[in-house]
């Protein structure tokens, strides 16, 4: 006879629950789910507004700010955010009207600033002691997320969800028809700025989980997978979150039992889900 509190499948207390007995794993799971939520929701806009390169750039350009923050014991999230603000200002300056006449297109400006900021980050790492002290910035270490950074992720996720709900129809319209959005007074460039600001918040959350190099995968892969199945925006966002969370939970198990880096495990499983979905769609037509 089954006792009260006993798992019907006989799994409770065994390998399914074991990882979550440790506080750092629970904090890592919470941080990952928050970052996954933020990135997966915005990922749909990133994919369909063709902002994948901007998202990739934003994650890489957080490096110098995070290196300086670590050197001085400040919050990594604040350092990453400061870096993104500088990046946005640099891109805006280079691709402004006066410069565009001399041939600096926005994508070229992003390319220049993105690589320059990343290189600056690498140089700063050489000033800050051992290279190994900074590796977690490149590849993430969700198992040592500071409480202040966790709170940042909570606030970022709330800001993203509230903004996406409040501006849903305007963000949607300006994503497929900028002229009509401008015609009726919405202002498509204003909304592009809103999206980029939200992407910056999501990226800053993401870099703590999977690191600077792999964050764009959190942003793009779940959304690209969801786009193969859902035909409307909101269901696509919901599916993107489910896919992201599935990869996160499975990735943490893989990391725990396989002793793999957690960030890389999550991203690798996201990619596996994407490839599986792609094959399934091919077979199913």
């Amino acid at each position: 006879m089954m006792m009260l509190g006993e798992c019907p499948l006989g799994l409770c207390g065994s390998w399914l629950l074991e990882p979550w007995a440790m506080g750092f794993m629970r904090a890592g799971l919470a941080a990952s789910l928050l970052a996954g939520l933020s990135c997966a929701l915005l990922g749909v806009y990133v994919v369909f507004r063709r902002l994948a390169f901007a998202g990739e750039a934003m994650s890489h350009t957080t490096l110098p700010g995070m290196v300086i923050a670590q050197m001085y014991g400040a919050s990594l999230a604040v350092g990453a955010l400061a870096s993104n603000v500088l990046t946005a200002a640099g891109i805006s300056l280079l691709s402004s009207g006066a410069s565009r006449r001399r041939g600096v297109r926005e994508d070229a400006a992003i390319g220049v600033v993105f690589t320059g900021m990343f290189a600056l980050g690498v140089i700063l790492m050489s000033f800050g002691g051992s290279w190994g002290d900074f590796v977690h910035l490149l590849f993430g270490n969700i198992l040592s997320v500071a409480p202040s950074d966790l709170w940042f992720m909570v606030c970022a996720a709330c800001a993203i969800v509230v903004t996406l709900i409040a501006l849903h129809k305007e963000l949607e319209l300006s994503s497929y028809d900028t002229h009509y959005a401008d015609l009726i007074g919405i202002g498509s460039s204003r909304l592009r700025l809103v999206i980029l600001t939200l992407v910056a918040l999501a990226v800053v959350s993401g870099v703590q989980v999977v690191g600077v190099i792999l964050t764009s995968a959190l942003l793009i892969t779940p959304a690209a997978t969801a786009a193969m199945f859902a035909r409307r925006l909101v269901p696509m966002m919901a599916l993107s979150v489910v896919i992201s969370w599935t990869a996160i939970v499975a990735g943490l198990y893989l990391s725990y039992y396989g002793s793999f880096p957690p960030g890389a495990s999550i991203v690798a499983l996201s990619s596996v889900l994407f490839v599986g979905a792609w094959f399934w769609r091919k077979v199913a037509g």
């Binding site: 369909f48 507004r49 009207g97 129809k169 009509y180 015609l183 007074g185 409307r232 925006l233």
Partner: protein, 240 residues
């Protein structure tokens, strides 16, 4: 408008001048940033209320530039434009602009119904959702354009003719008084051509004013009140 203070651009309340023409363009010069030579120069014409004007010209003659400038999407370099006696964009819901098909991101995941519903957004404003009346307007418009059966279809799965009908439905759902239509009959089938023609006739009978851009007015089997010919940035006005 549901809540005036939530209006897009904050300019929804301007009432039109009842004695003014639908459109008055005077000595208009328009150019793109970074280019010294204007695309349009010294363009002047008047569009009386309830009339239909054909805008004719070769590729690159400035037809789309003129329509976008009237819609407030491009800045005026020199000259003036007044829409129902008001400055351009003084009253967003009175002007609708039907762009060319390649200016829409057709891959974006929205249905035909949702696309057309966007025509009602200008009447909602920020933080307000379309209500039952707006949905009823959309349903009626979809029926009129004969696309009710594809209301739930993603816009990425539409044919060229269906795309054109969908864009026109959005302009119609907006309920504007001045319609700026950029090549609405370009590469569409004969059924769509006939349906759009009948629709424009009905709108004109209701007192709507419109400019319809086209490569060649001879290919239209519709009545125009006048023809505006653009040639190398300058304009010639004539009878249809």
């Amino acid at each position: 408008m549901k809540l005036e203070w939530l209006a897009y651009g904050g300019r929804h309340l301007h009432a039109p001048d009842p004695a003014a023409p639908a459109l008055a363009v005077s000595e208009l010069s328009v150019g793109y940033r970074g280019h010294d030579k204007p695309v349009l120069s010294s363009v002047s014409f008047t569009l009386p209320v309830g009339s239909r004007l054909a805008l004719v010209g070769a590729n690159g003659s400035g037809k789309s530039t003129l329509l976008k400038t009237i819609a407030g999407l491009l800045p005026i370099r020199v000259g003036t434009i007044s829409v129902f006696g008001l400055k351009v964009r003084a009253c967003h819901h009175r002007t609708s602009y039907l762009p060319q098909r390649d200016e829409i991101n057709w891959d974006f995941p929205v249905s035909v119904e949702r696309f057309v519903l966007a025509g009602r957004f200008v009447h909602c404003g920020w933080l307000t959702q379309p209500d039952a009346d707006d949905h009823e307007v959309v349903a009626a418009t979809l029926r009129e354009l004969d696309i009710a059966d594809i209301a739930k279809t993603p816009i990425g799965q539409l044919s060229g003719g269906q795309q054109q009908r969908t864009m026109l439905a959005r302009s119609l759902a907006q309920g504007s008084d001045l319609l700026l239509l950029d090549e609405p009959l370009n590469a569409v089938d004969s059924a769509t051509r006939a349906l759009v023609g009948a629709l424009l006739d009905r709108l004109q009978r209701e007192g709507k004013s419109m400019i319809v851009s086209t490569h060649d007015v001879g290919t239209h089997d519709q009545p125009f009140d006048g023809v505006l010919t653009l040639d190398h940035g300058s304009v010639r006005v004539g009878a249809a």
